[in-house]
């Protein structure tokens, strides 16, 4: 399923020396899901906007850092 980030909970040992990071994450950006780009994909509203985002197409934009980082992801 397409989401920009995936989350997982690593095993935590009582003997781990550092304070455990309970939820770890990794990026799964849009190019992994888009397939061959279809014609006529919606574009950013202006060239300046496109430049700012680093792509002409919002569907190819990937935010970094994860905007939901630090938010509790327990289902």
């Amino acid at each position: 399923m397409f989401t920009q980030y995936k989350y997982w909970r690593p095993y935590i040992s009582p003997y781990d020396p550092c304070k455990p990071i309970e939820v770890k994450s990794y990026a799964t950006p849009p190019q992994l899901y888009l397939g061959f780009q279809p014609y006529g994909l919606p574009q950013f509203s202006s060239p300046k906007e496109a430049l700012k985002f680093g792509t002409l197409w919002p569907q190819l934009f990937s935010p970094y850092p994860d905007p939901h980082k630090g938010v509790d992801k327990r289902d």
Partner: protein, 189 residues
């Protein structure tokens, strides 16, 4: 041939004199997954890849050189007016004794650039998969540099460069599909 245009692809601003960040950024200058390696890799693969994807390799390679220039600009701005004392404190003393403030094609750990970073297998699928992997690795490297950097202006440019890796990866994935499909045979448009 190539012409030079006197402008950066994207504006580079640096808000603080922090040579430590230059030490990290050099990874994208002369590192295994850096912009130089990317530009040279794609430029070199053009000669043996099927004609249908030569344009893409040429254009992405050319764009990578403009990214190399952006990285150089960041390093230049971060170190230009730093005192030897600041250079030393930033952990760039080893670089300074050998190169002063000259840029050098090396990675963040000081390992010089080598041609072995650039794969050229001659097999189009192997080469394009290498290119996709290279874009994902460069994307990851940008992520880790952004994590270490607290300069909002610099991060703005780094996020742009990270996004470009994503678009390039997308195009290389499409190039693989083009080679799989033999689209020339059935023009449906």
């Amino acid at each position: 041939m190539w012409y030079y245009e006197k402008k950066l692809q994207y504006p580079v601003r640096v808000s603080t004199c922090n040579p430590m960040l230059a030490k990290y950024l050099i990874e994208q200058y002369g590192g295994a997954d850096g912009e130089l390696a990317a530009a040279l890799r794609y430029m070199n693969q053009r000669y043996t890849i099927p004609d249908k994807v030569v344009g893409l390799l040429t254009d992405i390679a050319t764009e990578e050189f403009s990214h190399l220039e952006m990285i150089a600009t960041m390093i230049y701005k971060l170190t230009k007016d730093a005192t030897p004392q600041q250079i030393k404190e930033a952990g760039l003393g080893d670089h300074y004794v050998n190169h002063d403030k000259a840029l050098f094609y090396q990675n963040a750990a000081g390992v010089p650039f080598t041609a072995s970073y650039i794969q050229a297998k001659g097999d189009p699928i192997a080469d394009l998969y290498e290119d996709i992997a290279a874009e994902e690795k460069a994307r990851a490297t940008y992520q880790w540099i952004i994590d270490l950097s607290d300069d909002p202006d610099l991060n703005d440019s780094l996020k742009f460069l990270r996004e470009r890796e994503i678009v390039h990866s997308q195009r290389f994935r499409e190039a693989v599909e083009i080679l799989k499909d033999d689209k020339d045979k059935k023009k449906i448009f």
